[in-house]
Symmetry: C2
Subunit: 214 residues, 2 copies
Amino acid sequence: MKLHTYFRSSAAYRVRIALNLKGLDYDSVPVHLLRDGGQQLLPAYRKLNPSALVPTLDDDGALIGQSLAIIEYLDEMHRQSPLLPATALGRARVRMLALTVAADTHPLGNLRVLKYLTGEMGQSDQVKLAWQQHWLATGMAALEALLTGSSDTGIYCHGDTPTVADCCLVPQVFSAQRFGVDTTPYPAIMRIHAACSALPAFQRAHPAQQPDAE
Amino acid sequence: MKLHTYFRSSAAYRVRIALNLKGLDYDSVPVHLLRDGGQQLLPAYRKLNPSALVPTLDDDGALIGQSLAIIEYLDEMHRQSPLLPATALGRARVRMLALTVAADTHPLGNLRVLKYLTGEMGQSDQVKLAWQQHWLATGMAALEALLTGSSDTGIYCHGDTPTVADCCLVPQVFSAQRFGVDTTPYPAIMRIHAACSALPAFQRAHPAQQPDAE
């Protein structure tokens, strides 16, 4: 398996965690989002992924984009260390938590969006940073409320084994810290983040540990 | 089952289509996103859904937010008219298509985002409309490329029965048309949109057919 990835991409980071949690070997193919005007925008990459976003999984020629679609696929194909709970309601909750990050929060801070703010819209770096912090904090607050409001929350987001929700939570915290969001209002998130960070699968997926890290 | 919904919400529209395709009865509970300063922001609604977004499914007291989590849950609990293909690769493709709408496109045009643009950022209605059209067109172009680039595309997004991807495609086109996006560059999307629109399940889910339509 090959993963087209960028070390700092939140979506690629999620998939790296999932691959590691399931003990799956893969080759990293770096796609540099800032070089060559954005390598993800080049025709060669668009052939793999018409959305021009990372990551893309190449499983023996089958190309899959979208981090959550990739993780569900890996989970279906490789039964060890399941990343979704055993019950339909449990799976619904984990998917809800994952989408709170992947659909409600992360897309607003995506590189192409930030570029539009400072480019087409002519906004300052200060306005851009306020935008990033606003949506990161909004997303963290929603996730915190979902976690503290349910007795299903355990050592991890759902019970005592990591799930897709944790694959999303950790990169989200990485972004929040990178962009100076105060994380003290989110003790449940930060407790789970600490529990995840103690696991080698999460450590090896960290941006700083990637072959293309700068 | 109860669905907390708003007639014009793209995410609620997806779930209404899924409920209809599966032949499931439900009661609509309207949440008016513009009244009372936004009924989704009131404490009573936040108790059901801490993300303060529609829709929320209430299945005999079990509360689920996030349209794609709800649809996967309905599909797992009710086996008739499956909304995901039978193979892992097929499911991956359908989820990828669905997320291209639900994660990459729709969150950028969400009401709270538009409010931030004209509120906190003090942008004009013209800049707001250009923003909406830009991200709708970007999302449509990606979806079009994914559809035309695969032999798995059939009468619908994946083969000849509707899936979760179609539940996402139709509300996306509704938004594009509502905000004046030229849809002629997207013939595959519009062909599928026409095929879906011929089905009663899609017709009954349309915003104009909802009890809270204005």
